[in-house]
Amino acid sequence: MSADPALSPRRSLQSRVATLVFVAALLVFPAVYHNPFALHMMSLVAINAMVALGLQLLFGFSGQLSIGQAAFYGIGAYTSGLLTTKLGVPFPAALLASGVVASVASLLMVPVTRLSGVYLAVSTIGFSILVHLVLMNEEWLTGGTFGLIGIPRVSLFGYTLRNPAYSYFLCVGCALAVYAALVRLERSRFGRAINAIRQNEDAARSSGLAVTYLKSQCFVIAAFIAGLAGSLYAHQVRYLAPDDFTFWKSIEFLFMVVIGGVGSLFGAVLGAAFVVLLPEWLREIGDYRMLVFGALIVTAMLFGTRGLAGVLAATGRALGALMRRAAASG
């Protein structure tokens, strides 16, 4: 057979082209839609997509259902907000610090990675609630329910990013970097290991994998990414309130992953776009939009699809088959 055995499936030409087209579209977007609101929304999509990607690693790859990512997102946001407003720390350092603080906080979850399924999920819910309580009650630190105001815009090397297109590029750039990193991870020994753990933990252990350690690593990585996203969020909206980071936000992140397609990195991005943008499109129906949102969720689940990514893939395959047939009869 092949002289060079392939541990990871080779990416097809179509896939590479599609990626290129997608990235190009992202880069060109601000030129076409210079409306600041649209750019702001897309920045939010990118920010949320980052957290969703981290959750995909945690849930889709290693199989750990965490409904507490909003906690790390919030920790990152407040860390960055506080460092820049109270201590005048420059943005790049604040960004990094957000990731680090969030991942240190996630170490509290390490003992919990021993638990499985439901119990793990409930523990993460508890953690999310605890963090929210701290954000709400410790006014001296976080401003409590009054929130944290006056967070400065992103400032890189002395240049403040006033143009919304620049913060768009920053957010999209970070999201793309996270995406690329996770693609690499997925195709590595680490990626195979955590997938193995998800598919059969006993067999993984018997093959010598340090299961708890690997699972914890996933938590830390996902938290780090969520922390980074939180920092970007803080400087994007420039005002933080504890109610931005409740359990319901964690649920939103989970939705993004499930709707986009569990196990698909691109799906997490699609899911983020769906969850962030849909309520905006539904805004016309006002009070009823969350209702419709909930109903859509239920209906989507009833059909048990492999998420938006699955639908996209199926469409792609169908199109490909059509084109081949057309070319053959051509």
Partner: protein
């Protein structure tokens, strides 16, 4: 701490504990029968609470027990409807468990927002259901509400136990929960048992909803945190154990009430979370599991 205060806290803790027990029982029963965590159980409680309130608005002089029964009926129906429209479809189509859990969360969102549209977003006061004269016990004055809640809670739990142990339907429900295949072979109708299970869980939640409404107030998001605490209580007792659910609820109510005083009332909700995490780390099968292992 003086005796009166202590007794106050004790009664308060027991009362809220009874509420948690009822919710926990619902979780436990559904998990035993279907393996799913019925995230929307809290919303069922909320529906019961709101229905009771609306009933009182329509018929202000209706006695407490009647209000309860109506609320229980409403929540029972809602719970069964959930089973019929959502869970049954999920089971029949063999949808993966993650999608099921997401669907139940979606249902929660649906119900919470529907409630907000129907009843508004302000907390709503329950009119006094149980009279205002305080009972006196051992020289201490206790609110009649708390006593009534405890009594009704315990009565309901007692009836449930009797139902499960001594009626054919109850036994069939238990059989289905333990081993659906064997139960079916013995003639139990699986679908009907599912309906009953959800129905009973809904009834319990509805009663709890009225209790909470009269203790505190009703509002559209009340189901979430109470549902979560009921779930914690069920986990404390070991998910899937009915006795554990009841004990867990009462225990959790007591711990929460006393800890709020001794630790911090702002973090009252957090106490439950911390407790939960510690219990799970010590023994994933809850306190009942720990106890069983010691024997």
């Amino acid at each position: 701490m003086d005796q009166a205060y202590f007794l106050d806290l004790l009664v308060g803790g027991l009362a809220i504990g009874c509420v948690y027990s009822l919710v926990a029982l619902g979780f436990a029963m559904i998990i035993r029968a279907t393996g799913i965590i019925h995230f929307a159980q809290g919303e069922v409680l909320m529906v019961g609470s709101m229905s009771g309130l609306s009933t009182l608005w329509l018929l202000p002089r209706l006695p407490a027990v009647a209000v309860m029964l109506i609320a229980m009926l409403a929540s029972g129906i809602v719970s069964v409807a959930m089973e019929f429209f959502v869970y049954r479809t999920l089971r029949v189509r063999r949808i993966p468990i993650m999608n099921v859990i997401t669907a139940t969360v979606g249902m929660s969102i649906l119900f919470i927002n529907a409630a907000r549209i129907i009843w508004g977003s302000e907390p709503l006061r329950y009119p006094d259901l149980f009279g205002t004269l305080a009972y006196t016990f051992a020289g201490v004055r206790i609110s009649p509400q708390l006593v009534w809640i405890m009594v009704m809670g315990l009565v309901l739990m007692g009836i449930l136990q009797l139902f499960l142990k001594y009626t054919r339907t109850g036994l069939a429900m238990q059989a289905v929960a333990q081993d659906p295949d064997a139960a079916q072979m013995m003639g139990a109708n699986l679908t009907r048992m599912m309906v009953y299970t959800f129905g009973v869980a809904g009834i319990m939640a509805g009663a709890a909803g009225v209790m909470v409404g009269s203790l505190f107030f009703s509002f559209f998001q009340m189901g979430f945190i109470i549902g979560l605490k009921g779930f914690i209580a069920a986990t404390l007792g070991g998910l899937g154990s009915l006795a554990g659910a009841m004990l867990g609820g009462i225990l959790f109510g007591l711990i929460e009430t006393f800890a709020a005083v001794f630790v911090s009332s702002a973090y009252k909700d957090g106490i439950g979370m911390v407790l939960l995490i510690f219990i799970l780390l010590a023994s994933p099968s809850g306190l009942v599991g720990l106890w069983k292992r010691r024997r």
